[in-house]
Structure formats: structure tokens, C-alpha cells
């Protein structure tokens, strides 16, 4: 009988062991979706980046209760700041365990009151931020209290400000960076010398002041102002330190500064405007590959690269189905040397472990090789990543940069373009252009000289033998053609708008055909420019064409402009007819027709540094068009300057009304349509089909 029991115990143990060892073979349909961001800033689904691997609910026999922070020491042990309500003594403590869920030791029982942050240094010292004791406690690796720091007595700290430390990190020199509750001045920096020297505030957030706030402040009374939501800068929620001693902070509601990487001077080096930050960040940890992880309270985990670009987001809140990897209330995050992520859920009192997938491992390998300058080697994992997801633009970007480092600029250009990496594209392009220039400069000079010589020769010959008389005759004949003469008149209008407009008004220069022809050229140029201009200036997505609506848009605007202007002009006793107004509007487009090809050509040969040239051309173009249109309006209708301004304003107003009208008609029509379809539907339903 006893034997049987022992066998049973053995079998049970076997079962238990297999459960433990093989919980990680459990490979399933992951309960959460992983997203990434593409080069256009669109959020896209991607392969699962991290799989929920295992859950630690107990360290040995010790279960946790509302734990508030987690730290993974270099030796691989997990340190959890725990309220201790589930322990025998009921006292707050630091629970130290290993990643298999075995208890190693308990630290600080009896000393700690409300530990909210824990940090372990390379030599094993345990720093604890205790909010309610208002102290920083330091234990050695065996759990013996070796030091403690209270509120700094420096006057710089601020007299009325309490010292309620909640999170902290310590750099290699032993300087503590402490986030204190309700201290909005920034991170408290304390040096261990002389029993704690206050070094100052670090990485302060600034309150944003927008225009509305300034206006409010100016007009509100003091009492009203007091009622306004206070405009105090947010305190960082949490912080982390990386191997180089750079400090990362996360701050709730700080928009584009939600995640900061601060150098020694406290300057933020991450500028991400994609809006891909956690909305309720609670913790941050630096990764092993210049990457950084942010945990959101709701359970989302974000991974960013060293430039603050989002690589992945995954996890998320539990939907009630009790599935591994979904969280209730996250309060801490840690990472080990294999990129396994440890997420502390204070509500469930557990540590959830996520394991990177093959996909993520490849990406990390590439990041690592790239950061070490081994660009050629980095390309192999990158191309594997791209084989798994060709739309993973971050890999395209890194691929491009790797090729750039290898001085394979053609490939670098290709990948930069795929990744929408404008800087990379510009750099690669600069190099390519340089090479081209070097190779072709002589040819170009010779060509110029030859052209110049040819010009001189032709001119000389013409002077002697009048060889150009025949072409000249043809030209003169052509100019007499009404169409061509009107077309050249558009050029004249462009140079002398006042005279030109008079011609339209009084000398019969208004012409439907020529105007429409100009409009046609405009449309063609507009469309060609929009879709095929140089990559750096392109603001439509690659490979996407919507030409029909572009043409429709131009025509609609032209029609509306002409109609509105005509209506307004007529009631203001303007002399313009529809034809004249249409003509001068179309003629006003001439600068665009002439200058856009230049801007277009430039867009193909400029790099980011020189783009301003193209922009200047654009400004000139639009300014010129505006001048032409205004002058044209004035002259064609024979208005005074004052009248012109009035008519312009009125036209703008009319256009607005027209837009509104169209909108209303559209909405009403949709309503009518819905109504009819509902009646038909109801009828069909009643009849029982």
C-alpha cells in the first residue's frame, strides 16, 4: 500500500514537473494582437512579437499582494516590492525569487512601511523607495540594512515639499535618481556623499502653454483663474536607466514627451511625433539593443528603438476570458538578458513572463549587429524579417542604412524609399549624385562648350547668310494664328497683368478654347507633378493613384470660383462676363505652368539640404498666381482697389455658402435615400421574402 502511495506521489511529481518544464511548449493562438507602425505612420498588424510564456503567482509559498514594482537584477533574480498583506507577518517587504518561481529570500520586513520602488545595482545592493517612511533604504545583497536617506536638507529642495519617493534608479557612481510623489519639480538627484547630497532636479517636465490658455489668463479674473484646471507640469510616473547611464522617464499625459531619454544634462533625445505612446504609462525599462520598453497600466507593452520609433505593441487588458498574457493592472516591467519581459500585474498579484518569438529574435539580432557596426552581418537577419513580413518598414529602414554603411548606395536608396526613410534616402541620393557628378562633370562641361560654340556659329551664319529667315517666317505666320496668338497673350498677361487684363476686358482677348487649353496643361502638370515628383517631396503614398478625383477637384474648384466670382461681380456692377472671368482665372495659372516643370525637375535632383530651392519656387508660383488673379479681377471688372477687396471677400463668402449648400443637399439626399430604402426593406420583410 505504501509502495502504491509512493508511486502515486512520484507520478504526481512527474506530472507536475512536466507541467513546469513544458508549459513553454504550449504554443497557441495568442490571445492578443501585435501591432507595428509603417513608414507612413500607419498602425499595422504584424506577427506576434512576444508570446505569453509563463505566469509566476507565487515565489515558493509566498504569494504577493498589490505588488508595486519589479526589478530584475544582473544575476537573474527577481525583486518585487510587495505590500506583504498576504504574508504571515503582514508586513511590507521585498520578495526575492528566481525566474522559476522559487523563493530566494525576503528583505526589509519590519523596516519597510510602503515600498513603492525597488532597484538593484550591479553589485547586488538593493535600493528601496519607501513612500510612507519617506526614505530610501539600502540593503546589501543578503538583506541587511546598510544605509538610508531621508529628505534632503538642502534649501534648493524646497521647504514645503515632502519627500515621498516612489521610484528610483541608481547609476554606476551611486547617484540616485528618485521620482517623488507630488513633487513636480522633476526627478530628485541625490549623491551618496556626506550622507546624501542633493544635486538638484533633473529632467523636469514643462507645462504646455497654448494660445487659449494665454488668452484665458489675460481676460479672466483671479477667482475664475483659480477655478481653471491647474497648469502644473506632470511628474514623471516612472524611470529607468540603461547600461550607458542614460535615464528614461515616462510621464502620463505628456503627449509627444511621454517617453524621454535624458542625457547627463537632462536633455531629451527622443523626438517621436507619431502618437504611438502609451496613454497611461506606468513603467519603463531599457532593453539590450538600444531599445526601450514601456508598460501601460492597461496591459499594453510597447517596444521602441533608440530613436523612439515604435517597433511593437502587444498585450492588453483582459476581456474577462482569463487568457494568458492579458493583464488587469500593470505596475512594473523588467527585462532579462534574453529579452524575456517580466510584467508585474498588481491587481492579479503575479508576474507575467513574455518570450520573444523567432521574428523578434531576428529583429533584435539585427539591431544588435547594426549597433556594433557589423552592417553586412545585420542584413541576413533583416532579410529574414522581411521575408516574414515585407511590410515591416523598420527592417526596410535598417536594411537601407546597412547598405548605406556598406556604400552600396543604389540598394540603400531602394530600401530607404520602401521604408519611407527620408533622411536615409536623401543621404544615399547625395552619394549617388556625387558619384554621377564626378563621372560626368567633364562630359557636361564639354557639352556646354559645344552648345555655346554651335550657338555662336548659327548666329554668325545667320548674320551672313540669313539661314534663319525661313524659320522666322514660319514663326511669324504661326503667331498670326488666333489660338497661338492668344496663347502667347497669356504669357504677356503673366508679365503685365494690368495691361493683359485690360486686353481681356476690352480687346477681345477672352477665349474659351485657349483658356481651357491652359487649364488642361495645368491639370496634366498638376497630376504628373503630384504622383511622380521626387520622393523627398512627394506627399502621396507610393503606388496609389486617384487621378479621377484630382481632375474632378480642379474642375470643381475652377467652376465654383468662376461662378461665385461672376455672381458677386455682377451684383457689384463689375463689367466681367463669365467668359472673361474664366479666361483671366485660367491665364493666372501661367506661372504654375512655367515654374512647376522647374520645381519638378529640381525635386528629382535635390537632397533634403537643398529642398528649400524647390520650396522657394513653389512660394513664388503661388504668390504670382495670387497677384495675377487679383489684378485680373480688378481690371476685368474695372473695379477700384477697395471694390476689389470687397469682391474678393464676398467671393470667399459665397464659395463657403456654396460648399455648405452642396453639403446640405448631400445630407438631405442621403436621408431621403435611407428613408426610401427603409420603407422598401420593411415592405419586403412584411411580405415575408
Amino acid at each position: 500500500m505504501r509502495k502504491l502511495k509512493r508511486a502515486a506521489a512520484l507520478a504526481l511529481m512527474l506530472v507536475l514537473v512536466t507541467t513546469m518544464v513544458f508549459s513553454f511548449t504550449a504554443l497557441a493562438d495568442t490571445p492578443y494582437v501585435t501591432y507595428t507602425i509603417n513608414g507612413y505612420g500607419q498602425i499595422r498588424q504584424t506577427q506576434t512579437a512576444y508570446l505569453a510564456h509563463a505566469t509566476i503567482t507565487k515565489f515558493g509559498e509566498e504569494s504577493l499582494s498589490s505588488p508595486s514594482d519589479i526589478c530584475l537584477a544582473p544575476d537573474g533574480l527577481i525583486y518585487v516590492a510587495d505590500s506583504g498583506k498576504n504574508s504571515e507577518s503582514g508586513q511590507a517587504r521585498i520578495v526575492v525569487g528566481n525566474t522559476d518561481g522559487e523563493l530566494v529570500r525576503i528583505v526589509g520586513e519590519g523596516t519597510l512601511v510602503n515600498p513603492r520602488g525597488v532597484f538593484v545595482t550591479d553589485n547586488g545592493d538593493i535600493y528601496v523607495a519607501d513612500r510612507d517612511a519617506e526614505k530610501i533604504f539600502i540593503f546589501n545583497s543578503q538583506g541587511r540594512l546598510i544605509n538610508e536617506y531621508g529628505k534632503p536638507n538642502s534649501p534648493l529642495y524646497g521647504d514645503g515639499i515632502k519627500f515621498q519617493p516612489i521610484k528610483l534608479v541608481v547609476n554606476a557612481a551611486g547617484i540616485m535618481f528618485i521620482v517623488c510623489e507630488s513633487n513636480t519639480n522633476g526627478i530628485v538627484e541625490i549623491s551618496p556623499t556626506e550622507g546624501g547630497t542633493f544635486l538638484g532636479y533633473f529632467g523636469t517636465n514643462y507645462a504646455s502653454t497654448d494660445l487659449m490658455t494665454i488668452i484665458y489668463r489675460a481676460i479672466l479674473t483671479d477667482a475664475q483663474r483659480a477655478k481653471m484646471v491647474s497648469n502644473i507640469p506632470a511628474t514623471p510616473t516612472n524611470l529607468a536607466i540603461d547600461g550607458k547611464g542614460l535615464i528614461y522617464t515616462v510621464t502620463r499625459g505628456n503627449e509627444n514627451d511621454t517617453l524621454k531619454r535624458l542625457n547627463i544634462a537632462g536633455t531629451n533625445m527622443i523626438h517621436n511625433t507619431d502618437g504611438t505612446y502609451a496613454s497611461t504609462p506606468v513603467a519603463v525599462v531599457a532593453g539590450n539593443h538600444d531599445n526601450v520598453y514601456v508598460a501601460d497600466q492597461q496591459g499594453y507593452i510597447f517596444e521602441y528603438n533608440n530613436e523612439g520609433e515604435m517597433l511593437f505593441t502587444f498585450g492588453g487588458p483582459n476581456d474577462g476570458s482569463q487568457r494568458v498574457g492579458l493583464s488587469t493592472m500593470v505596475s512594473g516591467i523588467a527585462i532579462d538578458k534574453n529579452d524575456w519581459i517580466y510584467v508585474l500585474d498588481s491587481d492579479r498579484a503575479q508576474v507575467q513572463i513574455y518570450e520573444p518569438t523567432e521574428f523578434t529574435d531576428l529583429l533584435h539580432e539585427a539591431l544588435y549587429l547594426y549597433s556594433k557596426g557589423r552592417y553586412t552581418e545585420a542584413k541576413e537577419p533583416l532579410s529574414q524579417v522581411l521575408r516574414m513580413n515585407s511590410m515591416f518598414d523598420y527592417a526596410n529602414k535598417a536594411m537601407g542604412r546597412s547598405y548605406f554603411q556598406e556604400e552600396n548606395f543604389r540598394q540603400a536608396l531602394k530600401y530607404a524609399r520602401l521604408a519611407k526613410d527620408y533622411d536615409g534616402y536623401s543621404d544615399a541620393y547625395w552619394e549617388l549624385r556625387n558619384v554621377w557628378l564626378k563621372n560626368n562633370i567633364m562630359t557636361a562641361i564639354i557639352l556646354c562648350v559645344l552648345l555655346f560654340v554651335a550657338y555662336k556659329v548659327v548666329k554668325a551664319l545667320d548674320r551672313r547668310a540669313h539661314i534663319l529667315n525661313k524659320p522666322r517666317k514660319v514663326l511669324r505666320k504661326l503667331k498670326k494664328n488666333k489660338f497661338i496668338s492668344n496663347f502667347t497673350y497669356a504669357g504677356y498677361y503673366m508679365k503685365k497683368p494690368a495691361d493683359g487684363a485690360y486686353g481681356i476686358a476690352a480687346e477681345g482677348r477672352a477665349n474659351w478654347l485657349v483658356s481651357s487649353f491652359i487649364l488642361l496643361i495645368f491639370i496634366v502638370e498638376y497630376v504628373v507633378d503630384k504622383y511622380t515628383r521626387g520622393f523627398l517631396l512627394k506627399n502621396v503614398m507610393e503606388g496609389r493613384y486617384d487621378i479621377l478625383s484630382d481632375v474632378g477637384m480642379v474642375l470643381a474648384v475652377m467652376f465654383a470660383l468662376t461662378a461665385c466670382t461672376y455672381l458677386v461681380c455682377t451684383i457689384n456692377e463689375g463689367e466681367g462676363t463669365v467668359k472673361k472671368i474664366y479666361t483671366f482665372f485660367c491665364y493666372s495659372l501661367m506661372p504654375y505652368i512655367l515654374l512647376t516643370p522647374i520645381a519638378y525637375a529640381l525635386s528629382h535632383i535635390l537632397t533634403l539640404n537643398e529642398l528649400f530651392l524647390s520650396q522657394i519656387i513653389q512660394i513664388v508660383t503661388y504668390g504670382w498666381i495670387a497677384v495675377l488673379a487679383v489684378v485680373g479681377l480688378k481690371e476685368v471688372n474695372n473695379f477700384t482697389a477697395k471694390e476689389t477687396v470687397k469682391v474678393i471677400l464676398l467671393t470667399a463668402f459665397t464659395a463657403l455658402i456654396l460648399a455648405l449648400l452642396i453639403f446640405i443637399i448631400y445630407v438631405l439626399w442621403a436621408q431621403v435615400f435611407d428613408f426610401i430604402s427603409a420603407i422598401v426593406g420593411e415592405g419586403v420583410y412584411r411580405l415575408g421574402y
Partner: protein, 754 residues
Amino acid sequence: MATKKRKKIIWLSVILAVVLVAAIIATVFIVLGSRQTRLPSGNYVHTASKPAVKGRVEARDGYVKVAESDSYVLYYYEPQFSIKLENKTTGAIIESTLSEEKDDGRSNDVWLGYMKSGIVINAIRGTTNTYQVDVNTVETEIATWYTDKGIYAQIDFKGNYQFGLGVEVSLEDDDLVVRIPDESIYEKKEQTYISSISVFPFMGYTHLGDEAGYMLVPDGNGALIYLDDKEGRYANGFTGLVYGVDDGITTTGSVPTLWEKFETVVDANSVLAPIFGMAHTDDDQAYLAIVESGDERVYIEVQPNGANNINYNRCFARFLLRDVFKQPLSKGSSGVVDAVEADRLHSDLQVRYCLLSGDDASYSGMARTYRQYLLDNGLVSRQNLTYNTRVDVLGTEREEFLMGTTAVEMTSVDQLEDIYAALRREGVANVLTVYRGWQKGGLYNLPITKYKADSGIGDTRALTKLILNEAEQGNTIYLYNDALTVNATTNSSTYNVMKMVSKRTYEKKVNGQVYKTFYYLMPDKAGINMSELAKQMADKGVKNMALAGVTSELFSFSYKGNYYARTHTMDVLRDAMVEIDDDMNLILETPNMYMWKYADAMIDMPLGSSDYLYIDQEIPFLSMVLKGVVPMYSDYVNFEANKTENFLEMVESGIYPSFYVTAEDSSKLIYTNSSNLYSLEFDSYRATIAQYDRELKALSEKVGTSCITDHEILSNGLVKVTYENGVVIYVNYTEMALTADGVTVDALSYKVGE
């Protein structure tokens, strides 16, 4: 002037007359229409009469032996309506209610009443469905008679409840069959109904970690919960409605979203087969329970110790007879009241416990038993098991353009031909393809009622030609047909659309770029569409259809004020399948069990489970049941992050691989409803497809048409799969080389032995 006016008047009166006549006709139709009788349903029998009874059973003072078979004895104790099974050879006991010896004294009276009752009912009073009715805490009268093979008991609940039922318990050789005849169920008191009936909720229970073993969870492909002490880690266990959520009743709440925009939770798998099981490995006694009738509306509950704060492991079937649903009062969702379904489920409720002992007392035994059961009862039939790599293609999608939409062409007929040519060059000879988005109007122009290809992929004739030509070359093309879904945008009327029990049109909301709302068709209309399409296809000689929607969704609904249960939907859909099954080759997407017999192959079968916290081990249970009977194809490999482990899972389970490819770049899809398909271009997958094809085909040839007889996880973690023909496959998921039976398997690899 006057004539003009007169003309106007004449016109007006003509129009008025027309409107009047139309109104009268409409009224007549409405009046007549509402008198129409119930929709016809199929000729399936769901009920049988009460059994013939003999003398009374006297079992008031303790367990009495009531039946005996070659290997088991059945005992009965009337006051708790409790039974006990004894294995005559081993002496192993299976109890159905909590015994005094195993009571740890930690449960309250309500729970004790539950644990010591063989039948527990959840009752509805008014619109509240939280009343527990058991034989201990509610005044109950039980009368029991002998039958041929066991007993029949009439249980009447008195007092506030006034309802009752009869339970037949028979010992048929090695099977214990428990049946509640539909005709025996009665509800006498007004506003008091039976909501659900739990049958022997403590069958084979164990206390904490006292006994070794596990419970079988029908989640995904299969999973186990060990009978070890869970130390209170899990507040709930597994509760799964067989054949998935009832969309005719359940209104889904809000789902978690990232930045209030992106959905982040992936739906859990639905329960494909009405089974559960329990194995006590100490005394080699196990059972596999199969819900044989009433399976269209039953919950499978598998609860580990700690769940609901009680310390017992248990699994059981809970039949849902009548549900409470949310009845909206206005068109918006502001006013909602609880309402009770107008009628209850009308099927016999029957569970067969297949008792397993010795070598069979394991999940391998359960799988073998279930396979034999399915084959014996004609619920599956052996299909052609030739290996194919599945390479699906997407034809056309739609994106918004001007006021409407425009086609996004991804893979045309010609391009598909090129893909096949390329694969042939790589040595991939036999490919099974599901052509998605082939129909006019693209992937989401639903329902498909005509055999008409989208012009973006070529015309119908080209498609027909391709299918017939490729068939000769060894490539089989199936046309994808989601026969249930209606696109609300392309088919805007409420025509034939499924209305929920609350009489509101069911709407499936998706976070799509173009189409946001979909409806479901009523089952009979879905059937008509299917057979019409099948007829048109067959006329052209095209016989391959891949069916979705109707294969995996099951709902109650209302039509013209009448309530129709899931039974009706199931029968009508089965009839529709019968009608086209003879003419067509059907492959079914994630089919529910009652659809299995129509499947030439099953696609999108789950490889794993839904990752519930309380799952201890995933096992390829469905594969073990169906391998060697019906070919199964996995979900798409494209979107897998762990390719190696995914591949090994296919090796382990014998499921064939699936790819989803397009000729064009998948970035073209980002403004379509398929924007979540991020990696499709054929060129990136050409080599991978060839590699999978080579390896898995070779493996498949070794295995041949035999079934899996055994599946074990060896003590060092190596997975060992044994086939009927003696082939053994070892799969190593760990990152170090492992040895067993003298075979060494490299890390993350597999090996075939004999």
C-alpha cells in the same frame, strides 16, 4: 392654361390611385403574411419517448446495485439521485456526487446541496436566472423504476418551482448513457422556468491534488487540466458553449481597444465537438463523455479545484434550455430590459459516458474511442487522404473611391496559373487552393448567388477553364463561399436577414476600412443560395466549393414573431449540405461536429488552444481523432511568428500546412477590409512552400492513411506520436537534443522511427 391645370389634376389622381392600390395590396399581404405557419425544418429526430419501466427501485437508505454489464456495476442512491460505477476487474470507482469521506468540510450549504445532487437545475423566476435548484436544498420528490439496462427516475421539484423531469440511466456494455427525454420535462408554475440542467456535475470528481490525472478540455485542438492542487490560482475554469456563441442571443459588449481604435484581443476558439473527459491515472480509470443529443445547446464545463472557491476538480455538461436575453426597447441601444425566451430547447438531453480502463484510460484512449464512435455512427466517413500543400489566393478586394468603391486586383486567373507554374518548377506538384474573392464585386460582396467571376481576375469562362485545366495537372481549386454572411453595404435591404431573438436584425460590426456592418442570412435562404450556386457551378463542370460561415456558426433567431432554436438552424443547414454534397466536393472551414460528415477536408483547424490561464497542457486531440479519416489543413503559416515550432506542431498533429498568397504586393490592401493581411506576396513564400511541401509530403507518405493510436509526452519532454501502421514520430520542442527509445532527436526537430 386651364388645360394644363386639368392635366395636372388627372396626373395627380392617377398617382394617388396607384398609391392607394399598392397600399391595399400591401395590407392584404401583411395580414395574410403574418398568418403564415412556422418555417419548415428538416426531418431530424431529436426526441424519443420515455422508456418502458418495470418495478420500483428501493434505494432510499444507501447505494443499491441496479445494473451490471461485463465489466461494470451500476449502483444507485435515490435521495441524492446519485450513481456510482464500479469496475469489476480493478475495483476502481467513479462517483457522481460528493461522498462523505471526500467532503473537506469547507463548503457552504448551498454548495453542499449542489455537490450532493446528481441533477442541478438553474431556474428562472421572472427574468432572473440565478436560482439553484438541487435535490437537497429544494423540496423534491423522486420516484425510480427499473428499465432494461438501468433505471428511470422521475424528479419533481416542489415549492417555488413546480417543474420536473425524468432521467434514464442505462449501462450499455462499457458505456453509461444518461438521457432526459424531452417529453418528461414540464414547467407548471407561471414565470418559472428551467434555464439550464447540469447532468451529474460531479461525475468522477477529485479533491484538490489527491488523485493524479487530468481532465480533457474541448478547446481548440484539445487541452488538459491536471488534477493537481491549483492553490486557488483560478477563479473560474472552462465554460464553453458547444458550437460557439449564439449570435441570436448574445449581444457582445465592448472589446478592449488600443488608442480607442485598434482591437487587441483575439477571439477564443469555439468548441467544435461536444465532448469532455476525465482520467484518473492512479487507478487507470477514465471516461470520455459525448453529448449525443441536445448538443446544439450545451455548455461544457471543466472546473479545476479553486474555481468558484470549491476544492474539487470536475467536468460536466450543462444543457441550456431557456436563456434570458436583452430586449432593446427603442431603435438606439438606450433602453434595454431582460426578457425570457418564448420557448425552450426541445431535444432529448443525452450524455454518453464511455468508460475507459487500462491502456484506454488516457487521452489517447479517449481519442481512439471518439474516432470509433464517430465512424460507427456515420458522423464522419473516411475521405481521400492524399497530401496537398494548401496555397490559397485572394482575387479581388474593394477600396473606397469617389462616392463608391473600386476594385483592388490581387491575383487574377492568369497570375494564379503563373503561381502554379512557379511552384511546379520548385517541385510542388499537388496544391489545394481556396480561391477567395473570386466572385463579382470582390471578397466581401456577399452573399454569392451566381457563378460569376470578378472582371478583375478575368471572366467566368477563364476561371472555369483554369479550374478544369489545373485539375488535370494535379492542382485542385476550391471557390470560397461564405454562405452565411451578408454585406450590409452591397446588399442594403433587410431581405432575408437573420433577426435575433430580440427581433432586432443581427449586425456583425467589424473594424473595416470599407465595410463596417455585416448581417447573417436566415438558414433556409443560406441553403437556397448554396444550392443555386452549386447548380450553376456544376453546370459548368466546376464542383469544388470551400464553405464557410454555415459550417461554424449556429444561432437561434426569430422570424415573423416566432422563435426558432439552434436545433432548427442546425437541421436546415444540414439539409442544405445534404442537397449539395452529392454533386459537389466540399471542404469546410472550421466545421462544427455535425458538419464533419459532409467534409472532404477541413480547413483552418486550430493547432493549439486559446491560452486559458488554467490549461496545463495542449494536446492535438482533434488531430488524434480525425487524422487518417479526414484531411485537415492548418491556419495560414504566413502570420506565424514562431515558424519552427509551428512547423513541428504540424508534424506532431498531422495537419497539412496552409499558405495565403497574392500575386500583387500586400501593401495594395491597406485601404481595404483586408488591411490586416500584411504578408501575402507569393514571391516571399515560394521557397517556404516548396520546403514545407517536401518535408511534410515525405512524412505523410510514411504515415499513409493510418490513424494516430497513441500520443505521449515522455518524461524528458519529447513528444511521441504512434500511428496504426507502426510509424512513430518523435518531436522535440526543446532547445537541446533529446533521446528516447534509443532515438536521438535534435533540438527543435523531429525524427521518424518504426
